[in-house]
Symmetry: C2
Subunit: 104 residues, 2 copies
């Protein structure tokens, strides 16, 4: 579908993409972490897209297997949600992923 293609394009062309909701603290935590690491992610706020928001959330579920927010992609690769991202960060595995994605 066109929406699916647009998501694939978005995550392929941007080193870090966060599908988020503006009111969600888990989404805020992830956005804050990236900023702290000097990364400027592309943030898509699903609650600010009117009816396209829920459609996008469905497409993301089809593509990534994840229906929740935040939904994080680095270097085109699906990373997961807030907990997954923080886990990688604590294991020291997040920053190498970011460097690799930024170098592309």
């Amino acid at each position: 579908s066109r929406l699916e293609d647009s998501v694939k394009k978005t995550v392929a062309e941007n080193p870090v993409v966060v599908y988020s909701k503006t009111w969600c603290s888990y989404s805020s935590e992830v956005k804050t972490l990236f900023k702290k690491l000097g990364e400027e992610p592309l943030v898509i706020e699903l609650d600010e897209l009117g009816p396209q928001g829920p459609q996008l959330q469905k497409v993301l579920e089809r593509l990534s297997g994840q229906h929740t927010v935040p939904n994080v992609f680095i270097g085109g690769q699906h990373i997961g949600g807030c907990t997954d991202t923080l886990k990688l960060y604590r294991k020291g595995e997040l920053e190498p992923l970011l460097s690799k994605a930024n170098a592309k």
Copy 2:
């Protein structure tokens, strides 16, 4: 207002009350913490109350100064949100509050 009185009554008559939203991870964290501490809070899911949900959220803001969820009351006292509750727990101050509230 009648809704305001009902909130005051709810928090006065129940040792632990959590105003929550079913999809919210911060709300889940707080509910999980109380269960881990052997506490069975009264949980009110604001997203399951139809149009009364947003009204209740406004009343809570008037009464507690807090417009976000989760909104936690212990022994009739406004505690705060997820971060506040976790902070009290880590400082060892949450369990004494629970004992006191349960003893009433």
